[in-house]
Symmetry: C2
Subunit: 343 residues, 2 copies
């Protein structure tokens, strides 16, 4: 029998089908990677990109020259721009504002054809540190309400770049999905006086069947009401609302767990997706708590940062689009079992 | 300059890009239709489908035999089932319930290779009447909270059927997207004592630039904060929260406007999508108001039914998935202009 499950964080129901699809039953057209020679994100072509915002590089090398390990540059076609003011106003009965914000490309490696899970732990740690440093820096801008870091795997057909990159988008509003998470977490906290995410961690550890990996500082599991098959979350065991508070020890641990779960995903879908599994991930952290006008209280007891990884295996039908009630074709328990047991 | 716009119905922001893509700039892989001979939804193979729930047919013909114009049958692989009870309960800290509901295939024509916009007005009217009659019938079941009718165009690559059909799903919860619409519409009504949709109709008529078509009873327009390029809504000018209250005259008018806007969409994308434009549409109507426990008040002053049509031209990236802030690559004003001006 199919089952309806409530996503207690987004406040919506999803349906888990009783007969879970196996990895081999998913198929999706994947594009081809772009040739290395046409890639200006590779080392040696620094003068062809916008000037770097920051980089981590070999001692003695200069900005905008080779020698870097990771590098942040402004986006080529930014969705948001730093200059100007919000000019939030009504237009008839509607509302609009200017696209104030920031838009950066975080280049994860000087090499063109490296997958994140093959970069090595040291490089993965540099990438996660870059995430943290860019968030710390941008949170100083009081106009920015939210910073979202996301990644699409390099062979994702609807991706712009094929060089391994993440995207940072800083925006003047709290986007809906985050708002829903914040509001539901706050409602839970108001009632229970406990963090809903901490309770989820305890529940997952108690039940065990949705856990993929556990390390000293992190848990990786398939959420009870996942909206994508094989969706996997990485969450710190220590309560912390804000990713920018991550410690160096935790970054190492997170690098290890992220690398491992991406390797596992690639392995179980190896047959179906010869080149690489298409996936996205995104970091959910607290809104910028610096501006006073932030109406989420600054203690942060009711939120808990985490990374959501979603394999891009499916497309939504009209019912799902029209209702926001998603159909989950592989149960989180089955997905976690596949991911847990693969070498 | 790009622009952030608020979707006042779903309570979220979207970004409209300043340089609108033209129809010719959209490309998406489309599957091939299934062969007619393998289709059991065609006339003459009634004994191979589940027994019909209802049909509209030539006088003197018997149920489950040829002679029908439109036909409702139970779904082959139902997501929801009528028998049993909800058994809503906690599972650890989570919530679940059984998949009680209904799942029907509404066959729109005995012919295999006919597009909705080519069916002719009379047939389109029969289809819309079937929508109404099935909703009226299912609303009698007090366990059902919401009925959603949706359609994917026949050559949609992720569709199951290629025969022209709509899907009806009746569910025991109000899905998130509807809930957001209902809650925002109620909040507006509480403050303004006016229906937000009626105000949107007035605003669109006043401004004019997002209107595609207008008839005596309906308006067809591209919403100010569309989430899909070329998204188009059909909305009755008369205030009515519940699609099942549609009059026969309105059904005729709706058939005319729906047929016309689908023709217009096909025409502007003819070059890019040789066979057919992939689209979905879904009917947003009030929740089932029969059960007493419905906590939306039964007057229905604060909701207004409408049909949303979304061409399936794009795929979401990680930022959009992670944030729920969607990027609109063609502005509603440009989209409406294309659709309005095409013959």
């Amino acid at each position: 029998m199919h089952e309806l499950r409530k996503d207690i964080l987004l406040g919506r129901w999803i349906e888990v089908l009783s007969e879970s699809k196996e990895p081999s039953e998913y198929h999706l057209h994947i594009g081809k990677g772009s040739a290395e020679r046409s890639c200006i994100l590779c080392s040696g072509r620094e003068n062809e990109t916008p000037r770097e915002i920051t980089s981590v590089r070999k001692p003695g090398t200069l900005p905008n020259t080779p020698g870097w390990w990771v590098r942040a540059i402004p986006s080529f076609n930014p969705l948001f721009r730093v200059e100007g003011d919000l000019n939030r106003r009504g237009v008839g009965i509607y509302d609009r504002m200017n696209n104030i914000g920031a838009n950066e490309v975080l280049i994860e490696s000087p090499e063109h054809n490296v997958r994140p899970e093959d970069m090595g732990l040291e490089q993965m740690i540099r990438v996660i540190r870059l995430y943290r440093d860019r968030i710390v820096d941008l949170n100083k801008d009081l106009r920015l309400r939210y910073i979202l870091i996301s990644k699409n795997s390099i062979l994702d057909p609807w991706d712009t770049f094929f060089h391994p990159v993440s995207f940072l988008v800083a925006i003047p509003v709290i986007p809906k999905k985050i708002k829903d998470e914040l509001e539901n977490a706050k409602q839970y906290y108001d009632y229970k006086e406990r963090c809903i995410f901490c309770d989820i961690i305890r529940e997952e550890l108690r039940v065990g069947e949705r856990i993929i990996l556990e390390t000293r500082n992190f848990l990786c599991f398939c959420p009870y009401a996942s909206t994508f098959p094989f969706e996997s979350w990485i969450i710190p065991k220590r309560h912390s609302c804000d990713f920018q508070e991550i410690s160096d020890e935790e970054i190492e641990d997170m690098g290890f767990i992220l690398m491992n779960v991406l390797k596992k995903m690639r392995t179980i879908f190896k047959k179906e997706f010869k080149t690489e599994l298409p996936f996205s991930y995104f970091l959910h952290t607290a809104p910028n708590r610096v501006p006073r006008r932030n109406h989420w209280h600054t203690l942060g007891d009711d939120y808990h940062w985490h990374l959501e990884i979603v394999p891009r295996l499916i497309r939504r039908n009209g019912f799902e689009l029209g209702s926001g009630l998603f159909i989950l074709t592989t149960s989180p328990e089955k997905a976690a079992k596949y991911l847990r047991e693969v070498g």
